[in-house]
Symmetry: C2
Subunit: 184 residues, 2 copies
DNA sequence: TTTATTCGGAAACGATCATTCCCTATTATC
DNA sequence: GATAATAGGGAATGATCGTTTCCGAATAAA
């Protein structure tokens, strides 16, 4: 079932919510129509489950990428680099279900909007935490405002997914090199 | 007709492409079904026309906002501030048709993807130009790389539209204050 | 005044959508 | 070994989609 959900994630990432038919889902999940409706109340429920699954996986990936840094500043650098990588190539082309949910459904579905907000705020808190760690270990100046910088970095990461979906190339080292100025 | 197209822009911004039915369009444009198909080949053509209309208006708004600055650095500051304002409140909630096109259609419609790319690259060139102006007038250090910084700023602006659509509040002065560090 | 033409409006079309229902295996229980 | 219960597969359903077609009104030409 989790593997079926992973396949649903891919379809929703690639095609978004409205362009994904139940037929697309059953084909991707290798499940019949009836089976999908046995497991989920309706299409929105499939989307919400896929959303949570995606968010969980991405949270872990982001955290493990950050963990590779030796101090707060380096952890932020690795996190940003990880975001660029995921915004590029096949995965970048496929897209992010959080960005898709925000753009396609935030205005139409309060339930989805709440999940998107929760995910964005969780990420923002994580980034702000990394900044504070950096200030504690001396790798980031004290005058950096964690909340403001974190919110701008959220804009950067979400924007990278948009640009990546449009297939503009992103150079990780150069982009992150510039972005690290925000911690000066 | 241009006023009808403006109404179509609003609907496509708010609901995206697939969630907007011809019925939604005719209601918003105050046109009958037949009249829409007299003026446009199909739904995609309406979207492309709305896209171009939106892009043109936004280009002018961005340029006139930038023009309020006395030097390159100040022009960039005003441009970023303008983007935050447009990403907030009613207009932010409504959304950006370029971001919507990128997220919802870039993977499915090569024609839309080409328009999105063109719009992003135009904006990026404009920003890179402002940076070079700032370097020429001494308001921006010479070691700033125009292309890399411009691409990151594109990520920032597109990301702000995503975050604004999710209805997270954005503080213009604080956000732009942080972003201006990229020009240090 | 009459005729031809253009323009907008609404009904009708086939296709596709999300959803429901029913049937068939398979497993577990007694 | 028989039976009840459950999970999965696929056809049927009503609604809605994008699109086409036809009709009437308004305008311009004759």
């Amino acid at each position: 079932m989790d593997t079926a959900l992973d396949r649903a994630v891919r379809v929703f990432c690639e095609r978004g919510y409205h362009a994904t038919s139940i037929g697309d889902l059953t084909a991707a999940m290798r499940l019949a129509t009836g089976s999908v409706y046995k497991a989920f109340r309706d299409k929105q429920a499939v989307f919400l489950a896929a959303f949570e699954r995606y968010a969980t996986v991405r949270r872990e990936q982001t955290r493990s990428a950050a963990a590779r840094g030796a101090n707060g500043r380096e952890r932020l650098r690795h996190m940003l680099l990880s975001y660029v990588e995921h915004s590029q190539g096949i995965e970048g082309r496929r897209g992010c279900i959080v960005v898709g949910g925000a753009v396609e459904l935030a205005a139409l579905d309060p339930e989805v909007r709440a999940r998107v907000n929760a995910q964005l705020e969780t990420n923002e808190s994580f980034i702000a935490g990394l900044i504070r760690e950096g200030q504690a270990d001396g790798s980031i100046p004290a005058h950096v405002v964690p909340e403001d910088t974190a919110r701008l970095m959220i804009c950067i990461t979400q924007g990278m997914r948009v640009v990546g979906k449009a297939r503009l190339p992103l150079d990780g080292d150069r982009l992150v090199g510039v972005a690290m100025k925000l911690l000066a």
